[in-house]
Amino acid sequence: MTQTAEATQEQAKRYVGGGVLRKEDPELLTGQARFIDDIALPGMLWVGVVRSPFAHARINGVDGSRALELPGVVAVLSGEELAGDWEAGLPCAWPIATRSWPTPTDEDPRMPDHWPVAHDKARFVGDPVAVVVADSRAHAKDALEAVDVDYEPLEPVLDVEQALGGDAPRCHEDLGDNRCYTWTLENGEVERVFSEAPVVVKERYRHPRLIPNAIEPRGVVVQPAPAQGEFTMWSATQIPHIAKVTLSLTTGIPESKLRVIAPDVGGGFGSKLNVYAEEAVCLAVARRLGLPVKWIEERSENYLGTIHGRGVVQDMELAATEEGKVVGVRARVLADFGAYLQLVAPGIPLLGAFIYHGLYDPEAYLFECTGVFTNRTPTDAYRGAGRPEATYAIERTIDALARRLGKDPVELRRRNFIPPFDEPRATAGGLEFDSGNYPATLDKALELADYEGLRREQAERRARGDGKALGIGLATYIEMCGLAPSQVLSALKYGAGGWDAATIRCHPTGKVTVVTGTSPHGQGHVTSWAQIAADELGVAFEDVEVLHGDTAIAPLGMDTYGSRSLAVGGIALWNAAQKIKEKAKRIAAHDLEVSPDDLEWTDGKFQVRGVPDKSKTIPDVAFAAWTAHSLPDDVEPGLEATHVYDPPNFTFPAGAHVCAVEVDTETGEVEILKYVAVDDCGNVINPTIVEGQVHGGVAQGIAEALYEEAVYDDAGNLLTSSMHSYRIPSAAELPSFVTDRTVTPSSTNPMGVKGVGEAGTIAAPAAVMNAVADALAPLGVTKIDLPATPERVWRAIRDAKGGAQ
């Protein structure tokens, strides 16, 4: 069932499974890629956004007269002036109401108004309150400082726990309080299991807010065609299709007259899985002026005006037997949604809700999440989205349980793993996992890390009282990807489907165009999709062109996020290829004057059984289908097929990561000595791309563990508002990673793929923090929170020694 990566290589097709070079790289490496800021249109004006300097303030007036006197300034528009430009507010497509799953709810979701430009109150530092339009970027920037906004500062609410207090300031007065929802999922007899269990561990974890920091900030260009009422919007987005639907609702521009293009996009990590005020504003301004407009986000704006991630407080409890069998899991989460509900924010905790039991098999399971409004930048999906939080909670608490019971964390995990399975299997959270072999993955990781050797070295260091403490951390994880069957999404109140689409067009010259509904922004779909199409159709990799990210070219799509692209869009492509082959087989049989049943697909062509020299390739058939000189009855000319794929289930990648750290007990500095990632994402299309995803994800997860944290002051100002103060590690701070895989093909889809985009980010924070906690445990440290900065580690050590001297 579980194969090694090497074994699958032997079965490799011509391209799938091989590390072909990325088709995307030549243009990226030679500076010929076309990002949003490379787009300049004749007569284009620049838009700038005036942002609130207060976390919470009433807006008593906006005076643009000083700005309008500056050179090049065309317009200043307040939120009030723009109010008539909107048919609806900015979209939140995941309206979750208070509910005890699976009982249906009769409560209405609590959805605050979210206008693109605020006109009553500013609700976070960075909230758009007015817009300027000028003839150059510099003039727009100067004009921003000359717009006079009359603010009446109000007391902000910043902390999620304080926000739920009765006397807390209200982010949205009309909602009564700051609670968005409380959503509960319960399986089994939770109360009984916890009250009867001989061992219960309870831990509290704080995840700071994280700032996604795509290297390319956001940007929008809009070209209106006033006579036709048409608009073309280029946006640095992960979701051109969803943006088209929702922005049409916000602006009232008919969807049929709105074309959205995602050009080359420089990273997203979820931050561009959103529909933003500036997109709506640029459409509205272009509509008002009849001229093309452009807005490019500044880096410092990005820290305030683009969504943040995480920002949760988690109370995690495990009930266990004395032997260490986990029998109950109880997770209670407070999630900071910030000032408004962005596109999918309410659903983010639900992406973790079902998997707080990790790879283990308790009989009782409770997840409860309360979403909270605060006067801070809205949060939403950030790489991993809900699953890193769940993995962190279960994996750190499993280690806490191991310490409580005096057991090795490896042993405890083995005792609790769901045993290997290759048919769908029900789990404590209520999902059906597709396939898995968790012990195999862990074994491989331990071997690569030399776990026994690390433990020996640790014992030696501890024996000699080394000031550099060695810590060893594990994290195993389960991920739910391939979001998702549309019916499941409906039950979860998601506002869209989980399908994706692909079209294959076989040209008469033998070349092939693939049109995909996914919208890559660094993932390499152009390469992977070409590998799949080339193998399925028996054509050369070089002959496959992949188009994406333009709603006029690829009208059907659900875009790229949540590790869904291969498991959904890739399967749509595979299915489209089968449709091509079905039609081609009939044409080939007609040409060869045999029955379709006499043909077999061998070596990438249709061949008459037993007559190897009688065969037709897809390019042969494509030419015949184009000339249409001789086609079977009822076969239409042309060779083209579209497939829209709605997955029957999620996919469930899993893995085991091992991290060894050295903690300088005098300074608190943590250095990673070794990092091993063994991931199981099912079958692999391109191992180089998979490895790249794991490297990037692990780096981002290490950053979450040791470096990144959005820090606010008491007035709600973001103190870490630049790349100087918000620390993203570089290659200089990161170790070499050891990566490997096990392969347990998914039973959900015909390619057996699962998805890998978020794996590293899901496992690494827990692996690193478990290692830090392991290093500090002999010093008496029982609690260490994210991120383990030198000062935080130093304080933990000092406090364990008995406080300040």
Binding site: K141, R299, T667, E669, T720, R727, A732, W794, R795
Partner: protein, 281 residues
């Protein structure tokens, strides 16, 4: 990202730069490598009305021996200071510390003179020049003067430079035979020091004969740790002496570190820095 509007002139000589500064008035700034100033302008934290660019003046970038001194042109880049064989051999503390500044891009454009004139207490080079007891050569409308580094840093971003002054040269003594170290504690390679410690020690009779210790980011200006130096030379155990490194300091609390942590960190790093210097021939 986009600075406020400003005037710009490129000076062809130091004299012309002095004249231009006079013409533009108090709100003008000299532009050297621009690695500090331009960032502040882009963030609209600095609004000079005019920049006088001295980046193209011939003859301001050099490292040359001058008896027991080494003279360094103010426009010498950090990278050239770092790579200078003369400095590596005769003043390795400075050559080493220049290689710790910022990141490679910054080091190839940023200059020693620009860093000193910026007078940021979190910068490495000012602390090292203070420790080296360097002399700074300044030219203004009234002619040339030499200011000891010990008197140059008057406050945060406040060098001893009048409105029309141009820092032209840095002079350091050879440190042949002295042990040295620069310990920079920074979470990421490109970060400023949370705390930095520069040391120069002379071993004598199994102990420490002379010691000079400079501190980065432990107050509004680079600081000499006089109490620590004295304790070291009077024969105290390094670990005990290191407790005194924070006397006279006033570190800030910021998102990177609290004052309390900086204080405790300085003690640990001071001990390590001196041990490193002693162990270095």
């Amino acid at each position: 990202m986009i600075p406020a509007a400003f005037e710009y002139e490129r000076a062809e000589s130091v004299d012309e730069a002095i004249d231009l500064l006079g013409r533009f008035g108090e709100e003008a700034k000299l532009l050297a490598g621009g690695q500090s100033l331009l960032s502040l302008m882009k963030l609209r934290l600095a609004f000079p009305t005019a920049l006088v660019d001295i980046g193209r003046i011939a003859g301001l970038a050099y490292v040359r021996g001058d008896g027991d001194r080494i003279a360094i042109g103010a426009m010498t880049t950090h990278e050239d200071v770092h790579r200078s064989e003369l400095l590596q051999e005769a003043c390795p503390l400075l050559a080493h510390a220049a290689g710790e500044v910022g990141d490679p891009q910054v080091r190839h454009v940023g200059t020693i003179g620009g860093s000193v004139a910026h007078a940021d207490p979190a910068s490495d080079v000012p602390t090292v020049l203070l420790t080296l007891e360097a002399d700074l050569v300044v030219r203004g409308p009234g002619g040339e003067r030499t200011v000891p580094a010990t008197e140059f840093f008057k406050g945060t971003f406040e060098p001893d430079l009048a409105a029309q002054d141009v820092l032209t040269e840095i002079r350091v003594r050879r440190t042949t035979g002295l042990g040295w170290s620069y310990v920079k504690f920074h979470p990421r390679a490109q970060d400023w020091a949370i705390v930095g410690i520069a040391t120069l020690v002379q071993r004598a009779n199994g102990g420490i004969g002379t010691a000079r210790v400079g501190l980065t980011n432990m107050g509004p200006v680079p600081i000499r740790a006089a109490a620590f130096e004295q304790a070291l030379t009077s024969g105290a155990d390094v670990r005990e002496a290191a407790e005194r490194v924070v006397e006279g300091t006033s570190p800030v609390s910021d998102p990177f570190a609290s004052a309390e942590y900086r204080t405790e960190l300085a003690k640990v790093l001071a001990r390590r820095a001196v041990e490193e210097a002693i162990g270095r021939p």
